[in-house]
Symmetry: C2
C-alpha cells in the first residue's frame, strides 16, 4: 500500500471495475455516487478502488457533466489588501459550497482582463466574479454571460450589464467625507486616484471608467459644488498607479504654491504613500494637511495620528458576490440583484480644521 502509490499513473474506473469483477458502468455508479447499486457490489467496488488507490479525474467528469466546479475570479491586483480581503470572502464561500477558485490578476488592464475572461471561459468555469477595469468596455463580459455562465460584478457595476452586482455606497461615503472636510473650512481638497486617462487629465466623471471611483468622484464634486466651490475638477488627480507614481504626484501637489489643505485618497495604498510623502515633506497631519483614505486598512489605526477612513465591508463584498453566484449556480433563476453595502466613515485624528 505504501509502494503502490508511486506507479499510480491514473487508475480509471475501468481498472477498478475489472478488479471488482463488475462492469465499468456499475463501478462508475458507486465511484460517482449516482444511480442504484446493491450493497454487495458497492463494497466490492469500494474495496477495489481503495486497493488500487483510485483517484477520480475531475476533468473527465466535467467533460460530460458540463460543470467544472470552478469559479473564475478576476481582480485588479491581489497584492492590494482590498482585493486580498475580498478574495478571502470569495474563497471562503466557494470552498464551503464545493467550488474551487481560479484567480487572475488583471493589473487593471482591460486587455489582460479580456484575455483572462477568454481563458476562464475556455477552461469552462461554472461562473465568474469580476471587478471590471472599465465599466464601459464590457463586451467580453457580455460574451461571458451570453455563454450561459453566471457573472457577478464586484465593487464595480456597469449599467450596460444586467447581472448580479455587489458594490459599496461609494457616492454617499464620498459625500459624507467631503461634507465634513468642507464643514471644517477646507476649500482646497484634492482627490487622488489610481484611475487614469490617456492624457492623465481629469475633466468629467465620465472620464473615469472604474465604477466605484467614478461614483466617489461624482459625490466629491457634487458636494463641492453644493458648497459653492468652483473648478474642483482640477483638484482631481489621476494616475497614482504605483507607489512611486503616487509619491511623485503627491509631492508635486503638496509642493505647489497653492497646495490643498486636505487630500482624499481613493484607496489605502495611495493613502499610505500620501502619508509617507507628508512625513518626508515635514507636513504635519492634521495641522498642515487633513487626510482621509478609502479602505480601512489595518495600518490606518496605528499611525500617528491614526487616519480617518471610509470603512468598506470588503470581506462581505466578496462574500456576498460569491453567495449570489453560488445561488445562481445552484439554479436560482431570479432577475439580476444589485446589492449596495453600507460604508461608514471612521473618524480618527487625521482631519482637523483647515489652516488659516
Amino acid at each position: 500500500m505504501d509502494q503502490s502509490q508511486s506507479q499510480n499513473t491514473s487508475v480509471t474506473v475501468a481498472d477498478v471495475a475489472r478488479k471488482a469483477g463488475v462492469s465499468k458502468a456499475t463501478a462508475a455508479r458507486v465511484l460517482g455516487g449516482y444511480g442504484t447499486v446493491s450493497e454487495r457490489v458497492r463494497e466490492a467496488v469500494t474495496a477495489a478502488a481503495r486497493s488500487l488507490d483510485y483517484r477520480p479525474n475531475e476533468l473527465a467528469r466535467s467533460m460530460t457533466t458540463g460543470r467544472s466546479g470552478t469559479i473564475g475570479v478576476v481582480v485588479g491586483d491581489i497584492e492590494n489588501p482590498f482585493f486580498s480581503l475580498a478574495v478571502r470572502g470569495i474563497t471562503d464561500v466557494a470552498r464551503q459550497a464545493g467550488f474551487t477558485v481560479i484567480l487572475i490578476n488583471s493589473g487593471e488592464d482591460a486587455e489582460i482582463e479580456k484575455a483572462a475572461i477568454r481563458t476562464l471561459l475556455a477552461k469552462r468555469v461554472d461562473g465568474l466574479i469580476v471587478s471590471p477595469a472599465k465599466e464601459s468596455d464590457v463586451g467580453h463580459l457580455r460574451e461571458a454571460t451570453g455563454s450561459g455562465r453566471p457573472l457577478a460584478l464586484l465593487d464595480r457595476g456597469s449599467e450596460f450589464l444586467d447581472v448580479d452586482t455587489v458594490i459599496a455606497d461609494d457616492r454617499h461615503a464620498a459625500e459624507d467625507v467631503t461634507r465634513q472636510l468642507i464643514a471644517r473650512g477646507h476649500r482646497r481638497i484634492a482627490y487622488l486616484t489610481a484611475c487614469d486617462t490617456p492624457d492623465h487629465l481629469f475633466r468629467t466623471p465620465a472620464d473615469i471608467n472604474t465604477g466605484s471611483v467614478r461614483r466617489r468622484i461624482e459625490g466629491f464634486l457634487g458636494t463641492c459644488g453644493e458648497a459653492g466651490l468652483t473648478e474642483t475638477e482640477s483638484w482631481v488627480h489621476m494616475g497614482a498607479v504605483t507607489p512611486e507614481e503616487t509619491r511623485r504626484i503627491a509631492t508635486q501637489i503638496l509642493e505647489a504654491k497653492n497646495r490643498p489643505t486636505a487630500i482624499i485618497a481613493s484607496d489605502s495604498v495611495i493613502g499610505l504613500e500620501v502619508f509617507k510623502v507628508c512625513r518626508g515633506l515635514g507636513l504635519r497631519i492634521p495641522h498642515d494637511l487633513s487626510l482621509v483614505s478609502f479602505h480601512d486598512a489595518d495600518w490606518t489605526s496605528v499611525t500617528t495620528p491614526p487616519v480617518t477612513v471610509v470603512r468598506q465591508p470588503v470581506y462581505r463584498l466578496g462574500e456576498t458576490a460569491a453567495k449570489l453566484l453560488v445561488e445562481r449556480l445552484n439554479g436560482h433563476r431570479t432577475e439580476a440583484v444589485r446589492v449596495v453595502l453600507r460604508t461608514e466613515v471612521v473618524e480618527r485624528a487625521s482631519v482637523a480644521n483647515a489652516p488659516a
Copy 2:
C-alpha cells in the same frame, strides 16, 4: 454577429469542420495549431470558426493531452499580506508562462490542506505550490509528487520531502535580531507566533511544525543560549492565530509582573496587534518595550516610531517557486533545488536599550 453570441451553446470542432467543408481532423489541426494544413484550408477553417464564434474547450483538450495548464497553490491565508504578495509573485510568473492558478486557503489547517491537495490532484493541476501547515505531516504531499506532478514548497521546507523548496534564511534573521536585542541589554525577550501546540505550551523547537517559524525560534533560542540566557523557552508564546487571540496573549504578556523588555513578532499581522496593545496599555515603544517584527509590511515604516523589521523577499519567494515549478513543467529534470533567499534586518526606531 451581435446576435449570434447568445446561442453559442458550445460550437465544437465538428461544427466548424462541417461549415468549412473539411474533416473534423483537419479543422482540429488548424484550430489546435498542430500538424500541417494547406493555406487555403487554414483560411476556410479560420473563417468558419470566426463566423460560428468557436471557443475551444480546454477541458476536452486537457483530457487528451494530460496537461491542464493549471497550477494549484495552497497557502495559509490570502488575507495575510505575506501570502498575498507571494501569490502575486506566483501568478505573475504563471501568467506569463501560460498557466492559470487555482488558489486554496488552508487556514493553516492540515486537514483542509489535505483536502485541498486531493481536490487539486483530482482537477489534474500540472503542478503544485504549497506552503505546508505542518512540515512533519506530509503524506499527502508525497502522494502528490508520487502522482508525477511536480511540487514546490513555499516559505516552509520539509526534510522529509525531496522537492524544490524556496525559503528565506529565517534562522540567520532571527539570530541577527536576537543578537541586536541582547547587545542592547535585553534579557527578557518574548517571541510571539501563530503556530500552536495542542496545549498551547512551547517546550522545544520540535513542537513547531511550521518550518520557517521553527528555524526562527531555533535561531532565537540558540542566540539566547550563547548569551547565557536561561529558560528562554518560556518566553516563546504560541497560538496568536487571530488578531483577537494575539491581543489577548500580548496583553497577558505585557501585564505580567515580569514582563519582557522586547518582543519579536513572527509576522506583520502579529506585530500590528502587539503595537496596538502597547498603545492601549500606554507602553511606549521603544522606551518601555522594543519591538521587532518579521515581514516588512507597508505599515511598519509609517508608525511612530517606525518598526524595525526583518525584510523578507516575499514577492521573490513566490516568483522563484513558480519559476522552478514552471521549469520542471517544461521538462527540466534536475534534482530538487533548495533556494534560500537572503533576508535583511531593516533597523528603524522601535528598538532601544533595555529599560534599567
